[in-house]
């Protein structure tokens, strides 16, 4: 299934993931107030950021699908949104597991959490919509519009942490990084590892999607072209 370039990418991703795990569990010191539970942050934050990247990717693919009507962009949008939903589901789960001992609750109706949940629901809706559309081009175009409009919620999630009374800690501001150097390096390693993982996963998922479409078309025609 994997081509040689993908194999190299997978190995680099695996190595980077091991470095990120070493950083999260060994290199980074325990946080003064929260203790070891803060280590969840080294997987929670990269997943959240790469989830945003995935939704931006789905939005971008949607724009290009509407412009060019090429099936590749439609498949790219589905692949990116699917991985984005996976990552954001894990963000909600890890966030709840962090909130329980720190805030004393699994969930709170905080503006950032609510806007994030809405984002998750939008892209789950997009995947359901796109799955139901099948070969219908009109519905596929409608799903692409949904992916583009849905992305509007991403800046709202980002801004709600800063300008509304959100409970989630703000780590990065325009002036400083609110982390000790060893923690910042661990976070950076996590970001690189999960970015590479996203790209590896996206390539594999896109290839499967394109092949499925091609095989379905061939099976429907009953003949193989080219």
């Amino acid at each position: 299934m994997l081509r040689s370039r993908d194999t190299v990418l997978a190995w680099i991703t695996g190595a980077m993931m091991l470095i990120a795990l070493y950083g999260a569990f060994v290199f980074a010191p325990p946080e003064r107030v929260m203790g070891d539970i803060q280590r969840i942050f080294y997987v929670h934050l990269p997943l959240a950021w790469i989830g945003f990247v995935a939704f931006a990717h789905a939005c971008w693919a949607g724009i290009w699908y509407l412009r060019t009507a090429r099936r590749e962009w439609d498949e790219a949008g589905v692949a990116a949104a699917e991985i984005g939903v996976l990552f954001s589901t894990l963000v909600i789960v890890t966030g709840s597991l962090w909130a329980r001992p720190v805030w004393g609750t699994w969930w709170t109706w905080d503006p950032q959490l609510v806007t994030y949940l809405i984002l998750w629901l939008i892209y789950v809706g997009y995947l359901v919509l796109r799955g139901a559309a099948g070969e219908d081009v009109r519905r596929a175009r409608f799903a692409a519009v949904f992916a583009i409009v849905g992305f509007v919620d991403v800046p709202l999630v980002w801004l709600s942490a800063r300008y509304l009374r959100a409970l989630s800690p703000v780590i990065f501001t325009s002036r400083s990084v609110g982390l000790a150097p060893s923690m910042a390096w661990t976070l950076a390693a996590g970001l690189v590892a999960w970015s590479l993982f996203y790209w590896t996963l996206f390539r594999a998922r896109l290839r499967i999607g394109l092949l499925e479409t091609e095989v379905a078309a061939l099976a429907g025609d009953g003949e193989v072209h080219g």
Binding site: H44, A204, A219
Partner: protein
């Protein structure tokens, strides 16, 4: 530590479940390609040039 364990476990279980689902789709795809190839071989006789290539062991 319990919450930390469950958080990392949830992430990796989620990732592996997704990878398993992708592998299943990939295997189903390989089976479908195989079936298509068999169907094609039954319906279309091999061309002389293709037969020559296969005898010579080329790609």
């Amino acid at each position: 530590m319990t919450y930390l364990f469950w958080a990392f476990a949830a992430v990796w279980v989620g990732i592996f479940l997704y990878l398993y689902a992708l592998t299943r789709r990939s295997q189903a795809l390989a089976r479908e390609v195989h079936a298509l190839r068999e169907r094609l071989e039954k319906t279309a006789p091999p061309s002389p040039s293709a037969a020559g290539r296969s005898r010579a062991g080329g790609p």
